[in-house]
């Protein structure tokens, strides 16, 4: 407790963490730079792999690849249009580039280059976006809260929102093997390892039922699958049995698996680290409508707003992404 000038007492305020901070919970099992290590390992056996970054290699775990394969890493400077135009050109010569920057810069700043130089010719360029959704407290300049909404309209582009280190490690070779462009919502630094506790394997284009449950169905992607699993454990104590369906590939979307789970009397909930506009919730909603399935789905996601700056735990609580907020939302719906 802190005493302030007027004599009132209040809890110490959390501080905005540095850019490289992890969103892992204290004491949680993590793996360091899983994307960078997976890419470096893949390059050992696949000579087509090259890495590029726009002055953010250290902050997108690309530095691990650059250190392992210095001749195959290309620093393009803080020039995102050049980054993706160059990646396109390299793919034209038969290489398989992974090009990293922050999601905000890929989606907002270099869209035209990704769209016309990469997606239209359907090149095997893998776009790696750091700080997806609300994974930094730096405010709207760095928070890519609408990246999926921006990219979903782009033909040919596969969009992947991994949950944890396991997802990332398994996704990287599949992204490289996929004949066409991909967008990866990167989790970087010390990334939680969660899915190893379940009978799960990443399969590009597939959603997986990670946990069965009789009262509610969570459909989630990205780090929200971790939160969904944590919330499911917590809800068990409230006698609420929750199923969790992890859908890391947002486009093309595995409608079969997800709709089969949602088309039951259980409470349906989507959980995404993204605005509720144009992301997982609307992907699910449009799939339901197209098949004439009438089910109410509760969206848990970020509001259609520019978000505050601050500490991640504060912001995840404020905007409903924390485990406690999810539990409250679900109990409220079931009450």
């Amino acid at each position: 407790m802190t005493t302030v000038k007027d004599g009132a007492v209040r809890a110490p305020r959390l501080k905005t963490s540095a850019m490289i901070a992890s969103f892992a919970d204290p004491g949680q099992k993590t793996a360091p730079a899983p994307f960078g290590h997976a890419l470096a390992a893949l390059a050992e056996t696949d000579p087509r792999i090259v890495g590029l970054s726009a002055d953010l290699s250290k902050y997108t775990d690309m530095h691990v690849f650059a250190k392992a394969h210095p001749d195959r890493f290309f620093q393009m400077g803080m020039a995102e249009q050049l980054l993706f135009g160059t990646a396109a050109g390299m793919a034209e010569t038969g290489l398989v580039p992974f090009a990293s920057t922050y999601s905000v810069f890929a989606a907002r700043r270099a869209y035209d280059f990704i769209c016309l130089d990469i997606a239209e010719p359907n090149l095997n360029v893998n776009i790696v976006g750091g700080l997806p959704g609300l994974t930094t407290g730096y405010g709207p300049s760095h928070q890519a809260t609408e990246d999926v909404a921006i990219f979903r309209g782009m033909p040919n582009l596969t969009i992947v929102d991994p949950c944890d280190s396991l997802d990332l490690e398994q996704a990287v070779p599949q992204l490289a093997a996929h004949d066409g462009p991909t967008y990866l919502r990167l989790l970087r630094g010390n990334v939680p390892t969660v899915l190893d506790e379940y009978d799960y394997e990443f399969e590009l284009g597939k959603a997986k039922v990670v946990r069965p449950g009789n009262d509610a169905v969570f459909v989630s992607s990205g780090l929200m699958t971790m939160r969904a699993l944590q919330a499911a454990e917590a809800l068990a104590a409230h006698k609420v049995d929750v199923a969790v369906v992890h859908a890391p590939t947002l486009k093309p979307f595995d409608e079969e698996t997800v709709l089969a789970e949602l088309d039951t009397p259980r409470l349906g909930v989507t959980l995404e680290n993204h605005t509720v506009v144009g992301g997982l919730f609307e992907t699910v909603a449009s799939a339901l409508v197209r098949r004439g399935i009438t089910r109410r789905v509760v969206p848990i996601g970020l509001p259609d707003a520019f978000l505050d700056a601050g500490a991640l735990p504060t912001l995840h609580d404020r905007y409903g992404l924390s485990k406690a907020a999810i539990v409250d939302t679900v109990l409220g719906e079931l009450r």
Binding site: L82, G89, G94, D112, P121
Partner: protein, 291 residues
């Protein structure tokens, strides 16, 4: 120069000028199909295209995907009419196909796209993209020890785009000596004269200050173009200084009716004028050859 070298060079000049003349005729024929189009620009750059395809580029007409071909990237997508003419002249596409230009289901759309046309390396049109892709191709070729060079065509209007200068910096930083850029300095953009739209001069100093081997030539003087390309090509190596040739061209070049017309980005030509254009082109060339 020895007598033999002089004669070789004179043959090269003649061959390129003849190719440019055929390209210009193709352009008029294609323009007539549409009744309008980027005919003025294409006539202006016919000499540049002819130098590229009739003299400088290493390619196989019957194998457009030959791995060691020199790449020719058309960033300025609406100049496709000119490139189709050059590809026909080069034997990559049949001359008879040119009459399908801009028609439904044609391989020759109004704006150049790689997925439609053999020999079209990239999809241009969103201006300012070509040089960024060229940087990647040049890097990729070098990494794979491929000796091919990357010729990239951009327009002076594309110097408005920041991405062009990102790429100019990147090419120098990565020492892309296998990259040769030609800039069509026709001084005209969609909304008017380039200098009134967004001033780009002094262009030579800008490129030189970005670290490029920079030349500026009359883009309708075939002999001067050949010299400039020869100088650029002689320095071309996988690792070195990228080269740019700023080519001052005249819209409608070779057809006085169009050269004298008020300059327009999208030139309208009446039905009865096409034959006049062709006759002027033929007469002018005969006059210049005989002179």
């Amino acid at each position: 120069m020895t007598e033999n070298a002089t004669s070789v060079r004179s043959d090269r000049v003649s061959a390129v000028r003849d190719a440019a003349q055929r390209i210009r005729h193709h352009v008029l024929d294609m323009g007539e199909v549409q009744g309008q189009g980027y005919v003025g620009q294409a006539l202006g750059v016919a000499d540049l295209l002819a130098v590229s395809y009739a003299d400088q580029l290493r390619f196989r007409a019957d194998d457009p995907h030959w791995n060691e071909r020199d790449r020719f990237l058309l960033s300025t997508g609406h100049y496709a009419i000119g490139l189709y003419a050059a590809l026909a002249e080069a034997g990559v596409i049949p001359v008879e196909e040119l009459e399908t230009y801009g028609s439904d289901d044609s391989r020759l759309p109004m704006s150049g796209m790689a997925s439609y046309t053999p020999g079209m390396e990239i999809s241009g049109g969103s201006l300012g993209h070509g040089l960024t892709v060229a940087v990647g191709i040049a890097l990729g070729l070098r990494l794979q020890a491929n000796p091919a060079r990357v010729f990239t065509f951009i327009s002076d209007g594309e110097l408005d785009e920041g991405s062009t200068w990102e790429a100019a910096m990147g090419a120098h930083h990565h020492r892309l000596g296998n990259l040769i850029v030609m800039v069509d300095m026709n001084a005209l953009q969609a909304d008017g004269k380039t200098e009134s739209v967004l001033g780009i001069e002094p262009a030579h100093e800008k490129w030189a200050s970005f670290g490029w081997f920079t030349q500026r030539v009359d883009g309708n003087d075939v002999a001067a173009l050949l010299d400039a390309f020869d100088r650029a090509a002689a320095r071309a190596e996988p690792e070195g200084t990228p080269a740019v040739i700023l080519c001052d061209t005249r819209i409608g070049r070779g057809v006085p009716l169009l050269e004298q017309r008020e300059k327009a980005h999208f030139m309208r030509i009446d039905e009865d004028e096409w034959q006049v254009c062709r006759e002027q082109l033929t007469a002018g060339y005969a006059g210049s050859v005989n002179a």
